[in-house]
Structures are given as C-alpha cells and as structure tokens.
Symmetry: D2
Subunit: 347 residues, 4 copies
C-alpha cells in the first residue's frame, strides 16, 4: 500500500479524539487531514493537548465547514445524540467509524428509551455494523458505517459471547461488577469528575441504570437466541485509564474454570488482541494500559457450580480509539494490527 489513507476526526477535542490522534500519528498508512471541534474552531490541536505540539496537524475547524472531498474515512468522537445528526449528512463516499453510542443499538425504540431522543437516521442505523472485530470481522470488511461498541460492552462481550454461544454459562444469571477509570466519562466539566471528588475513594454509579447494559444484552440475546437481561453495576475508580469486569456466573453442569479458559483460548487463539491469562496471574488493568489488548480469565468459585470471570482492557484504546483503528484497518484491507502494536505502558 503506497498511498496513505486520508483521515478526518470529527469531535476531536475529547480524550477519545486525543487517543485517536496519538495512535494514528504512528500509523504508517494513515494521515490526519481534517480535525473538527466546533467550540474550538480555528485553534491548534496542541492548544488543547500540548503533548502533540511536535506533530504536524491541521487546525481544528467546524464540522460543517470541513471539505470531505478527498477524505477516505472519518472517525466520529462526538457525544451520543449529536453524532447521528452529523453522520447522516456526511457525503456518501466516506467510510464512517462512529465511536459514539448512536448506531450501536439495533432497535431504535431501545435507543430512544435509553438515550432520550428519537433516532432520525433509521436507514443508516440498519446498515451499520457493530464494530467488534473478533465477532463481526466479515461484516466490518464491507461496511460503510461501523458502530464501535461501548467500552464496557467490548470487555463484557469478548468474555461472554463464546461462553454463551457454547452453553458453558447460564445466560440468565450473569452478574457484572464493572470498574472503570475516569476517562470513561470523557473530558466533560462535571463536579463528579474533579480530582478531589475521585482520588482516594471509590463509589458505584448508574446502578441498574447504565446505558451499556442494553447494549450488552442486545448482543447476548442475539447469541443466546432469547431475550437476556444482565445485572450490571459500574463503579468509578481513582485512575485515568482501564477497566476491569468481574463477572459472576453459574456454569453448565460439570463445567469448571479450566473448561472455560480452554474455550476462550481456542476461540481467540488467532486473535492478536485478546489474551487468556494464566491460572497463576489475575487479569489487571496494568497489563493493558495504553494498548489495544483485552485480557480474560476464569477461576473456580468456592460456591458450587459457579465461576468468577474477569475481563480487562484500556477503555480509551480497545474500548474506543484503538478498536476504531482496528476497524479501519479491516475496512481498508490493511494488516489488522497496523499502528496498534504498542505494548502496555507499565508502570
């Protein structure tokens, strides 16, 4: 491949946008040609993120004023609810990789119920492909619009889809205790995201009411073949990046953690970004920080017929920007790991 992909990023001023820039700046087959951020139009990207002042980047402009004529692909980092209105008006030749929630839920009534507005791009929604490469790779290859999964759903589904598919766990009794760093909430100015409100403490949030629950349930239901609900409780951790899901599950008769680990290993053996932990080592967010990896592991519970499952990833990489670039690589026939081979930064 000699010609570089010409890339635009819409809504680049958040942490997701910044991590997309970070990763693309080392991607040998892509160059950033458009950056939009409406409230910061006219400014340099390095005004917002001085760590990039050594890179040559276009000025930020308003999304409506961008010239898309020679752009190949756009990443959309806008908030949910805003993304669909912009994306529906983009020119047809553009491949779109949406990191918002606007095209994740296949049923627009569910979207409406959880996101508080109507879905006004129904045709696009129907054409969108759920961007979880390890499970939808073939569809992603031909997609014009890829809806990247939420960070929690990515972690949950990489862990659970193979187990539900193989009938190894009881899909009606899945309890997901989720723990995430603060960047999952973006760069928005909310009191609850202030340093002094987050450091040296933890707390649950969105109890029984988090929008990632219906997304997880949608995919589990498709796999299990029946309407599936999960218990899903997120907690805020005093750290920037990373999330860990602790999943408590009932096993099918006679199934032990070893069987589950073996099934996960078999399923992901050829996948470059999914790893199964050794029995001696528990998954930890520091094993994935800054990287596109997801680490899984299963352990027998002391309660009979139960296992404790873990899944961990970096919410800004495999949970967002990294997975988006992985999707780009697939859509354009590039080696899937291109630009995504950084090892975790630890400490």
């Amino acid at each position: 491949m000699t010609k570089k992909l010409r890339v635009g990023i819409i809504g680049a001023s958040g942490y997701t946008g910044a991590d997309t820039v970070r990763l693309l700046s080392c991607h040998p087959n892509a160059e950033i040609k458009v950056l939009t951020a409406n409230t910061h139009a006219g400014r340099a990207f390095s005004d917002l993120f001085p760590q990039f002042s050594g890179i040559d980047l276009p000025l930020m402009i308003e999304a409506e004023k961008a010239d898309w004529s020679d752009i190949d692909v756009v990443f959309c980092g806008l908030p949910h609810g805003t993304a669909q209105d912009i994306i529906v008006n983009l020119p047809q030749h553009l491949k779109v990789i949406d990191m918002s929630a606007d095209f994740r839920l296949r049923d627009s009534r569910v979207y409406e119920q959880w996101y508080g507005r109507t879905h006004d791009a129904q045709a696009l929604l129907e054409s969108a492909v759920y961007g979880l490469p390890e499970h939808y790779r073939e569809k992603i290859k031909g997609a014009n619009l890829v809806a990247c999964p939420g960070c929690y759903p990515t972690a949950a589904l990489l862990l659970l889809l193979p187990l539900v598919s193989a009938g190894l766990v009881d899909v009606d009794d899945l309890i997901i205790d989720a723990k995430s760093g603060v960047t999952g909430a973006g760069r928005s100015l909310k009191e609850q995201n202030l340093f002094a409100e987050v450091s040296e403490g933890i707390h649950p949030y969105g109890v029984a009411a988090h929008r990632h629950a219906p997304e997880i349930e949608q995919e589990l239901s498709l796999t299990s073949g029946k309407a599936t609900l999960v218990s899903f409780t997120p907690h805020l951790m005093p750290m920037n990046r990373g999330e860990l899901l602790s999943v408590y599950a009932k096993t099918a008769k006679g199934v032990k953690a070893d069987d589950i680990n073996a099934a996960l290993k078999a399923r992901y053996d050829l996948e470059p970004f999914v790893r199964v932990s050794s029995p001696k080592v528990f998954p930890a967010t520091r094993q994935v920080r800054g990287s596109n990896f997801c680490v899984l592991g299963a352990y027998d519970d002391r309660l009979p017929n139960r296992v404790i499952l873990f899944s961990t990833l970096d919410n800004l990489v495999k949970g967002s920007s990294g997975q988006a670039i992985q999707n780009m690589n697939i859509m354009f026939g590039l080696e899937e790991t291109t630009g995504l081979q950084q090892q975790p930064l630890y400490p």
Copy 2:
C-alpha cells in the same frame, strides 16, 4: 470518670497501630502507657510515624519486656499467627482487644485450615467474644478477650446479618464483590504494595481463597442456622483507606430495595456508627474516610427478584482501630462514641 484507662498497644508499628494511637490521642478517658514493637524496640514512635512527634508517647519496647502491672487494657495489632502466642501469656488482669485474626474463627480446625498453623490457645479462643458491637454488645460488656472482626467481615456482616436474620435475602446465593484500599495489606514490604504496582490500576486478588470468607460464613451460618458459603472476591484499589462491598443478592418473594432499606434503618436506628444511605446517593468510601462510620444502601436490580447492596467503611477505623476502641468503650462502661466522633476527612 476521673481516672483514665491505662492502655498498652502490642505491635504498634503497623498502620493499625498508628491509627489506634491517632484515635486514642484524642480520647478523653484513655492514655497510652505502653507501646511494643519488637523490631523497633528502643526507638521513639515518632521515628516511625513523624506525624506524632508532637505527642508525648512512651518509647517502643519488646512485648516480652513490658510491665503490664498497672495497665488496664491492651490492643494487639500483631499479625495473625503471632498474636495468639503473645496474648496467651499476658497477665490475667488485662482486658485484651485483639485486632488480629487469631480469635475470630470459633472452630480451631477452620483456623488451622485457613491460617496454616494450629491454634494453641483453645481455652482463650472459647472465651473470646466476636467484637462486632452492633450485634454482640452485651457479650462484649463482660468479655476479657474481644476478637475484633476483619475489615471485610465488618462491612459484610453489618449489611447482611439483619437481612439474613429477617429472611429478606437468599443466604445461598450471596455474591460479594469487595474493593479495598492498600492499607488493608498493612505496612509489609511486598512488591505488590509498591506505589508503582498499585497506582493507576486495579486487579483482583485472593480469588476464591481470601481468609475473610470463612469469617463471614461463620457469622452468617450462625444467623441463618445452616452452613452457608458465600462468593467473595476482593480487589485492590489505588487508594489508601476505605473499602466498598457490592453485594448481589436474590430477594425473598416480593421483597424490594425499599423493604431492605427500611429493615436496615429500623435495625440500626439507634446505632451511632451505622447509617443507611438515601436512595438518591450511593454509598462511597469518601463518606467514611478517617471515621468510624459504616454506610449501607440497597437498590433494585434490573434482574427480577434481585437487589444490589452496598456497604462501605474505613478499613483502618470501623474496620480495625476504631471498632477496637468502640469495644474498649463498651468493656469499660464508657459512652460508646467517646473519642470516635471525628467526621470523615473529605476531600
């Protein structure tokens, strides 16, 4: 009360010892007369903890060399396994408040199985009272040896004992996802406690193998009237103090979170240190940091017939030193809140 209690602290050089000193230094009815720490014998306590250099404290000595003749009560902050050997040799007139695990498990075979040594003080073990004041206050009043509960069991039992007792939750399906700050591991020199191994990351530990599980089960079994096992999975948090238990429970028929909150409120209405959160606010470790409070709360799950329960406390205070002093107050007929009325330090 005019005469002050004369207090000794055995094994004072750890974080538990330091927090006992911190709290007792403001206790109007107690004075610290003996501090032992064998590896630091002869040194000033403020050498180890310079924050106390303004307080008048005795030099640290070896436990074996302490003169207990005019001491009223000793707190023991030694590690489990070591505590029993020291305590068994203390003079009879001393009231003993043990913050180790050595006298918590009523069955010495269970102790042996989980703590890897025999229990060699069987008579003492039989006389020991489990020091959870809200549930054993009357026995504590007359006790000579109080075994303070572990930090996780304190949080778990304050939450669950009233619910199991009233039959509001299914005792056979209790899943406890526990999250703790680092001081729960003490001041021991282990690689896993280094700053760079803990900050900016989280991970589970002791999966299906943590010693606080049998302690929780012992008390739940006593209350439920049958052998009870729980799923218990602790996680290390990048913070100093505080722990949060997220408990996933099946409810008895028709029972909702409101019923559970009402039951908890009724049970703890007169308790000075246990609070039930309002439905709008989720329990958070920052609500208890540095204080002797425990905050509880119940919320309906989206899964039918399930609730999500939380319990939070400061592992060094209500989970250790604070509760120990609360027990001292009870044992000596003092107002139970004496010296324990500090409000949480937040931020």
Copy 3:
C-alpha cells in the same frame, strides 16, 4: 464557658466550607446555626457533602436572607471579590472571620492590581487584622474582622518571619518553590481540575503571577522594614490536601541550618501548632494531613552560605478553616487549641 458560640458560615458549599463544618462539628463550644450558599439555597448540606448526613445542620439559605440577630460569629468562605460586598453589609454585632483574600492586602491599590476590582470597603479594610495567630495574636483578640492569610502565605510566613526578623537570611534573595494539592483551587468546575488532568502528572502554574506573592511580600516588607520582593512559583500536585514550600535562601554571615532551626524552635516553642522537624526527618505533607499543624525545617545547602528551608501544612486546615477556627478561639477567649487537636490522618 457554658453557652456555645452561635456560628454562621457564608459560602459554605466549597471545600473550605466543608472543612469548617467538619472541624466545628467536633468543637465543644460552638454550634452551627446558619449555612449560606446562594446557588444551593433550600437544600440540605448533606446533599452536597453526604459525609455529613449524620450531623444535624441547618438548611442552606441565601446569604441575603439569613437572620444574623442571634449569631455571634460568621466564617466567610466566599471567593475573593465577592466576599467584601457581603461582609460590608453584615450587622455590626457580628465578629467576622474572612477566609477569602478580600481583606488580606492592606493597600487597596495592590488589591486592585492583583484582584482586578476596586476595594469598596476601605474602612473595614483598615480595621481588619491579618489572622496569623502566631504573629498577630494580640490584635486578633480585639478584632471584629479577621482576614485569614492565604494558604501559601501562612506556610511562607511562619517559616520566614522569624528568620527575616532576626536577620538570619537575606530577604532580597528568597526563592520559594511551592507545591500544593488540588483542593487549593477549590471545587470550581475548571478543566484543569479534572482528575484526568491532574493525576499522574505535575506542572507549574501562575508562574511569576500568583496572587499570594504580594501577600507574602507585604508581611515580609513590614518585618524587614523595606520593600521586599520574592520569587514565588507554585506547582500543582496530584493529591487532595497539603502543601510544601521549599525555600532557597542566602544566609547571613556564618549562619548555618542549625542556627536557623534553633531560632525557629525558640520562636515557636510555646506554639501548639508549629513544629520544627528533627534533622533526620524531612518535612512531609503526610505529617500534617487533616490537622492544624505546620512543620518547619532547615538544612544546609552544598552551595556555600545557603540553606534549604521547608514548610508544610494542610491547605484546608492550617491554611484555611483550621486557622480560622484558631482565630475564633482567640477572639472569644477560648483555649486556642479547642476543637483543633485531631492528629494527622496518615496514611
């Protein structure tokens, strides 16, 4: 003293207000009768700070609607620029302890230059006493309006005033490298205070332009007898509480660190809240966290005729609320340490 002081807090919704409540709730001679917070009028204080839900506190009201008739003393936690307009309209019988910057600078032209508005309460300004108890105790006793020093000036002046006064250091070459936790910036919603902007990193701010510099210079000039400038560079630290000043100073001929430590010890020997560190231990913020202590220390530099000086305190306590309460105790003839004897919380 049998009757409790009746206290009001204006602008109670910030961290300073919260720490004033925390400390007063354990003060045996004071009770909080009025809490104002205009944007939160009508709400419970525990809505903003759930850690106080166990304390009986008045609802928050608008400052303009408060009934001050039976109040003895008010603490003002409003931002600078706002405080003077409220304070000037308070009834005459009230003793006022202002924690803002509005009455710290004696020269209203300097105030105008640094705070960007005119000073419209000139008469009050002239009557205000600078509330650094260790140096203005006698004036504070009779004051009706006490202007509590800024957090950095408190740390700087406790360290430097005795040294400048005794001619031990060269007042024309003082270099102050200041480091503070985030609560120094209050609870305001600014991007730079978000967790992800602060944790795992440090940076200078307000270089050569921080408002605490002229305040330090005012007091140093009064002591030295000549117009004095200092080099003052603050840095933001990834922690909640605490600040440390590292001061680089030239010494008078032959003066060594030992002489300076001796002078500091002599000066503060009877002061309950100022301590001089032992030569073996460097001052550390953890020695003062949550407490009203300030710890000082001097060390010889390798450069000839130079010393390295440190001063550390908790910016919310000795740097704000604690010092305010210390001033209240002085103004009302109470034992100066009343309600302020908590030991540092560490870890």
Copy 4:
C-alpha cells in the same frame, strides 16, 4: 538495513529493564535475544511483567551464563556498584550501553566519594562516552561503552548546557528544585516506596546529598570552564513516571526569558526529541509521559535579573531506556528516532 541487531539486556527485572523491553519490542531493527536477571534465572519475563505475555522473549538467565557470541549490543540495567563488575568482564566485540551510574563520573575519586566503593575498571571508564546524544552525538557514534546520564542530569543538562555555554545565566547561582515520580527509585522493596507512603503526599529527599548533583556539576563545569556547584533538591511525587525540574537562575545583564527561549530553540531546532514550550503553556510531565521527549521553557521572574526555567521528561524513557535506545541507534548508524516515535500517553 536488513539484519536485525541482536540485543541483550542485563539486569532486566527492574522498571528500566521493562521499559527497554517495551520500546525494543516495537523497534524494527532490533530483536531481544538475551535477558539476564540473576535472582529470577529460569523464569519467563512475563512472570515478572505479565503485560508482556503476548511477546516472544527468551527466558531470563544468570548474567554469567549468557552466551554473548552472536550478540551485537547489551543494555545494562543493573544497580550502580554492580554494573562495573559485570561490564568489565563482557567480551570485547559487544557494544555496551550502561544505564547505571558506574561510568558517568569521569573522575573515579568523585565516584568513590558518592557511590561508596572504588572504581575497578579505570580503563573502561576512560573510554566511556557520556550518552547525552544532543551534546555528545559524534563521540557516541564511535563509542564501545556509552554511559547513559541519570534522569535528573538529562533534564538539567538539556536545559542548562546551552545557556551556560552562551553565558546567558550565572553558573554560580543555579538552584534546581527537582520533582520526580516513584519509578525513579526502581522496583526495590523499601518502605518509603510503598503506596501508602507515597500517595496523597509529597516530601523532599536526599536534600543536599543526591548523587545526581555531582553528575550535573561535572558537565556544567566542563562547559563553563570552572568548578561549578549547584543547589539540587529532589522531591518525591505521588505518580509513577515523569520528572520536572524548576530551575531558578540569575541572568546575564539584560537577558530575558525570550532570549533564553530563542537560544534553546536555535540550539535544539533540529533535535527530534527536545522541544521548547510556547510562552502560553508551562511544561508539564503529562506532555512527555511514556515518550522520549524533553520539554523546556523559560519565564521571567518578578525578581529583577532572574528567570524561572523548566525541564520535563519521562524518567524511564528520555531519562533512561529511551535515551539508551537513542544511543544504540546512533552507535549502529540507524535513524536516530527509530522505535522511539510513540507520542505521549495522556491521560
């Protein structure tokens, strides 16, 4: 270049070793063939650092048992004092890049004074090149042994060498207030590196006695042409990576911050890893985290004829492993930025 460099890492089990592995794993012209770590011989590197379990790496062996016959270059990550004894016995064909302090000080008497042992490899010491590429590039090209500078000296010298060389600042009055994350202390088991001893607090250490002072002085003296001392005071920050030096300097007559920034820009204009900050933005560790960049900046002080200078880098990258790889690239005629182009990880 078609054949990859065959690389060995001696003393790979520390954080420096881990970061060398992290960076080399993405280096297109190098492959890791030997890993030594005597106390962990026989184990997989991923046992110590599970984040690397997806990479194919050799087992760790004892340094004495390594087969160096087909190795091109070794990185030495041993502690000072140990490194010289190993390096002196390595075969002659090996290029050696030492990240310890053993070959940094050109005068073995100074080494002996600060590091507490004799230097027993005097011939090697004389042949060693100080591995600061921006100032010793030509010598590094032909070196067989490169002594990588300490992290603080790298930050200090990149900032100060051009200024001292051009006579812009007074070399006799340099005051360096240094602030570093914890990984600067390595992975050693010391109480002062425990999470609970570091988080939520700051403190100075090694006051007037840090080993990096003579190293800075050595290079400044060479440049200034006279024996030079500096005031150097390091402080420990509650973060993993990154360091910031705040340098307080007197300027030559009429020299302002603009002149200094212009001089730095001119000096480093063609350097890929050194950047001068814009006047609006202060250098911050988060601008360099995980990357090989160093960011500099100068600002006018309020004190006349004084400037405030900053220098920031990631102590594990430009301060250690990254600079070591930069040296390797130079020694072997590779493009100097190869494998080092990762952008900073922020948040």
